[in-house]
């Protein structure tokens, strides 16, 4: 008898424990659902997400929804379903049964109100779960239609992938107008090109500060290559470094307090790091060979650069103090212009394969892939999320700025047809 009682008790305990565990599990599951990721960008077998985006109405509504559409489509993660197919009217309430026959999984709705400024409430609906998963009201001055469109695309991208979008980032580049070189800044999609007005004879690649308010660049003035810092919010151009020889600015450190550069001030082209706070300069390499084009890893611990110490220009990495130098490119006899991914996991460079081509490689030298095929492709620079690359190409006869996905897909020119443009650098955010 007592034994059977004991068994009952045991069963009861097991039940209670199970109930407790179930409750805990349910709570845990609920928490996971709240941070659902609709597109797993890291998945190799990614299925594109079919998305419907309404015309937001009014004069600027069409432009706004096209910006959102173009931004999302360029990522390669979405399939845009054309507006002509929509059954649901823009003012009708969201009803999932209007969308499942079209194969649409996400719906973006919004109607712009044009008063003194633009007001645009935007909603994102999940068809499969039949609910609104994002809602926000945007306000913007009428001159900021494009930044507004990009801000909406950023939020939708974040809601669906869990990652920050790069659609408000910018690209700085150098171009020539009436004999003088100047730095230009444009949106990442090539729109809204703005000239800084520097009027230099020759300018090399600009490098962004982390907070995107200034650029460091090299220019030739009076037969000397100097390094200059231009802050375009307060209109100041400051000389940072100048000496005899060839001085070429590299990346600013992520805290903005230092920058790396290459200089032949001591005879041979070597790498240096300079503090912008107290102007101290540290020499990082000392060799008779050429060391040039340094780029800092996002954790600030490593530097990739070009050296001809092995007889031809190749990409090397080293620790930030100049120690532990390793060669990472072995294919081809001319590999230059490295740029370190903001994620830290890849380095892109221009490699001579008959003509110059953009290549991508792991920082340990494994996994080399050639991303471009046509013409000469140079000066690669990663987007802030490491998912896209901007570069220069002469494939259509005139050197211009291109963008593509980091796997080489969707290559397109973004500067005007006849504009001779080079040295693109993607902003840090």
């Amino acid at each position: 008898m007592t034994e059977s009682k004991e068994r009952k008790l045991k069963i009861n305990i097991v039940r209670m424990v199970l109930i407790t565990l179930c409750t805990m599990l349910f709570a845990a599951c609920y928490a996971v659902v709240e941070a659902k990721i609709y597109i797993d960008i890291t998945s190799p077998a990614l299925k594109k997400l079919p998305i419907a985006i309404y015309d937001f109405g009014g004069i600027s509504g069409k432009e706004l929804s096209n910006i959102v559409k173009d931004d999302l489509e360029f990522t390669g993660l979405f399939t845009y379903i054309d507006r002509a197919a929509y059954i649901e009217g823009p003012s009708q309430p969201f009803n999932p049964s209007n969308w499942t026959p079209l194969g649409v999984e996400m719906v973006v709705k919004g109607t712009v109100k044009e008063g003194k400024e633009l007001t645009l409430p935007v909603s994102l609906f999940d068809v499969l779960e039949a609910k609104e998963i994002f809602k926000k009201e945007y306000k913007a001055g009428k001159e900021l239609v494009r930044p507004l469109g990009h801000a909406i695309a950023n939020d939708i991208y974040k809601a669906l992938t869990g990652e920050a979008g790069i659609f408000r980032s910018r690209i700085a580049f150098v171009a020539e107008g009436s004999g003088m070189k100047d730095i230009y800044i444009m949106d990442w999609d090539g729109k809204r090109i703005t000239k800084l007005g520097l009027k230099e004879n020759l300018i090399l690649a600009p490098h962004w500060s982390r907070n995107v308010d200034s650029l460091i660049y090299s220019a030739e003035r009076n037969r000397q290559w100097g390094i200059y810092l231009v802050n375009f919010s307060n209109r100041v151009v400051k000389k940072v470094f100048s000496s005899k020889g060839t001085n070429i600015a590299g990346d600013l450190s992520s805290d903005g307090n230092e920058f790396i550069f290459s200089s032949s001030k001591d005879g041979s082209q070597d790498l240096y790091i300079m503090s912008l706070r107290n102007n101290t300069i540290n020499k990082l390499t000392s060799s008779q060979s050429i060391e040039v084009s340094p780029t800092i890893s996002p954790d600030n611990k490593y530097i990739a650069f070009v050296s001809d110490r092995g007889g031809s220009p190749q990409i090397y990495t080293m620790r930030r103090d100049g120690s532990d130098i390793r060669r990472i490119t072995f294919e081809g006899s001319y590999n230059t212009s490295p740029n370190w991914s903001p994620r830290g996991d890849k380095i892109i460079f221009s490699g001579r394969r008959g003509t110059n081509q953009i290549c991508i490689v792991n920082p340990d030298g494994t996994g080399l892939i050639q991303l471009t095929m046509q013409g000469n492709n140079e000066d690669p620079s990663f987007s802030p999320d490491g998912r896209f690359i901007t570069f220069t190409s002469d494939r259509d006869g005139v050197k211009g700025i291109y963008i593509m996905r980091a796997n080489g897909e969707a290559q397109k020119k973004i500067t005007p047809k006849k504009m001779k443009a080079f040295y693109p650098r993607w902003s840090a955010k």
Binding site: I13, M16, E137, K139, G141, A151, L202
Partner: protein, 190 residues
């Protein structure tokens, strides 16, 4: 003995469950009147929609910059260029008579200085070409020093591939661009 352990466990779990259940029950009771609840419910949809005002940092045009004045008057085209092989910076035999004539001219014209510009063809990439052009100019400078010209009279600058003489994509054209160019600098005004 077993019974006691089992009982204790039952009590502990039971307490935990009741404890949990009680906490759940207690929450909604906590001091909110039905009126307040209704008020909150009607406010909520408005409150919940996040807003964002889109702003942008202005990019101001740079209108002035510090001036850096020229210190020399240039006299161009007195000397022939010397040429280099692709991705090389050693002085070829055909350059030696040209360097000799430049050294002779500098010996005669003691008030003049010399600027050597290093140039490259467009096939490489710009930054590496600047370093290569620097090497070419330096190689020419070293040859002139070996011919007796004091190093203080020779300035160098690299233009890499930034100033091509010839823009066609032929080997003949590329060869013209892989050069060291010599400029006499007259009337030093230091």
């Amino acid at each position: 003995m077993k019974k006691i352990v089992v009982l204790a466990l039952v009590l502990v779990f039971g307490y935990m469950l009741i404890g949990c259940a009680q906490r759940k029950v207690v929450q909604p009771q906590s001091s909110v009147t039905p009126e307040e609840m209704r008020a909150k419910a009607s406010e909520r949809p408005e409150q919940r929609v996040p807003e964002e005002k889109i702003t942008e940092q202005q990019i101001a045009k740079i209108e002035t910059r510090e001036g850096e004045m020229l210190t020399y008057a240039e006299e161009k085209s007195i000397f022939e260029d010397i040429h280099f092989d692709f991705d090389k910076y050693d002085i070829r035999p055909d350059a030696k008579p040209i360097l000799k004539s430049i050294a002779d001219w500098l010996m005669k014209n003691k008030s003049a200085d010399l600027l050597i510009e290093g140039h490259c063809d467009e096939r490489g990439t710009n930054e590496y070409n600047l370093a290569l052009g620097d090497r070419r100019a330096k190689a020419a400078k070293d040859s002139l020093i070996a011919l007796g010209i004091p190093s203080g009279r020779i300035n160098i600058i690299s233009y890499g591939e930034e100033k091509p003489l010839c823009t066609e994509q032929t080997e003949e054209c590329w060869q013209k661009n892989r050069r060291a160019h010599f400029v006499a600098l007259m009337g030093k005004s230091k």
